[in-house]
Assembly symmetry: C2
Homo-oligomer: 308 residues x 2
């Protein structure tokens, strides 16, 4: 059995706070759910900043651009500059830009991806509702649509306008093995403010296209080290002095462990304490890397301990 | 290495024809692609019928009801009565009916499923376009929608109007572990009449909801034995004297092998001869059951051999 995360409490909070200079904080499920701050997460992050910790906001959510995240942070009471935002839409654009990608990307995703690709001058198509009439026969799209010969990559992120015609287009492009297949993130779901409802994540859309195409997407967001390489390009961080905070053990915590970071699990999002107990008992080696160094029910709990 | 299927030729066709009384024929990729007959598949099926073979049309495609398949068969030159049609929409309805299911089914699928559920008096909801406006924010649906308390099952088949709001609804219902999770079929794609395009199958939609929900669907269509149990309820067939014809090794042929039928692979749909060679060399035990007894490039080739 692997060791469960230690709860941060009065006995270890000083040691904990002294152990890092930088914070990479996930957003959905840690700082906020949809448009609502979780507890006093904003005051806690601001307090860490006033203690001299450098904070980056590291989110797999690709629906917004860095500029839009700065607005969201400010509206919800988090201090953030554009260079502090590492969202998977930005990572995707950086990844393609640094390999001199010069074709068009067929995107299943929202405006955040479009804005970040525009920022590095990469052409894209597909964002917004597919133009097929919703009452069209399924196979008509597959038998009548033209493919864009300039498409060199398919990229999938969260997309509220995901549809069957988009699946047909993505899967058809992927018949050509020269076309790259990228995913912003593998998250199965997005935390929402209701017990009886849930919202699928980009990982669900990726699964659909992976099944239809028989291909496996390259993930650029957490837990991929591609994201960490993008951070390192712009920020001089010592991994051993960097804390990753997350609510998902199979993206956030796995990412932190794989990149040699310290890790703090919060229970205000996807992963529950019961899940952690199951992983600790399990035998899959990968799951050992799902267990953080520390945990807290929610991030705001840290503020009380700092003030203790 | 496992034995590859034997090609039917002049030396073995008599033995082959004498070895079965009943034919279960897949449709898409064997008899037709979208609205076009493949070669002389219709004359071949009619010839087998005139030789006294009983023919059932066994399709995982759930978009039509049995009545609609009879119309399609007649239009394309295949003789078929309603009781000869075993489509996965019908199997789904029979499966629920015979377990006295008396709640509502949330359906991701088309009219074929609705018609078959209506036929056995089972209530359903969800068919057609989801009413959410296409420009609505993703999470608004998850935070504002009402769930129907009478829903007792989620069923997924091929659906040209598949959308993100439908994924939210299905995944939210599946949070309740008492709610059944059914799939008409696992087909990754549907064969189309173009080399450069493809069309995802119901299996791609099932993957999306399985990933988002963390649950595994019960498949009622091929390769599930549930489909064979529905056939046996209405038709007195000796499995050893029954031939399964299919284009997909991981549904049609696997189904035939698991139910003790003889099997004929045609190469006019999804599975290629190269795929068969890969399976023959592979080490996965399940893949042994992907290799049929016989193969032909297309079903119409049998007609020439009968007339030889």
């Amino acid at each position: 059995m692997v060791r469960l995360p230690r709860r941060i409490d009065e006995t270890n909070v000083t040691e904990f706070l002294a152990s890092f200079d930088n914070v990479l904080s996930d957003c959905d499920g840690v700082l906020w759910k949809t448009g609502k701050v979780i507890g006093c997460a904003n005051d806690t992050i601001n307090r860490l900043q006033s203690m001299g910790k450098k904070v980056l906001y590291v989110t797999n959510n690709s629906t917004l651009s860095r500029e839009q995240y700065v607005d969201k942070c400010q509206k919800l009471g988090f201090q953030a500059k554009k260079e502090d935002i590492i969202c998977s839409s930005y990572v995707l654009a950086q990844y393609l830009y640094h390999q001199q990608f010069n074709k068009t990307v067929y995107v299943i995703g929202e405006d955040g991806i479009g804005a970040e690709l525009d920022h590095v001058g990469i052409k894209h198509t597909g964002i917004g509702a597919d133009p097929a009439p919703t009452n069209e026969k399924i196979l008509t799209v597959a038998e009548t649509r033209e493919l864009d010969a300039d498409v060199g990559a398919v990229a999938i992120g969260l997309d509220g306008q995901f549809s069957f015609p988009k699946m047909i287009m993505a899967t058809s492009y992927l018949l050509n093995s020269d076309i790259l297949f990228l995913a912003t993130n593998p998250d199965e779901m997005v935390p929402v403010n209701r017990e009886d409802m849930t919202c699928p994540g980009a990982g669900a859309l990726v699964s659909a296209v992976e099944t239809a195409s028989g291909r496996k997407a390259t993930v650029v967001g957490k837990p991929s080290e591609i994201l960490f390489s993008v951070i390192k390009r712009n920020h001089n961080l010592d991994p051993a002095r960097t804390l990753m905070i997350g609510d998902r053990c199979n993206t956030d915590i796995l990412f932190g462990k794989c990149c040699g970071l310290q890790t703090l699990q919060v229970l205000s999002g996807v992963t529950s304490y019961q899940n952690l107990q199951q992983y600790a008992l399990g035998e899959k080696i990968e799951e050992n890397n799902f267990l953080a160094d520390y945990y807290l029910p929610e991030l705001g709990g840290l503020l009380d301990l700092i003030d203790y």
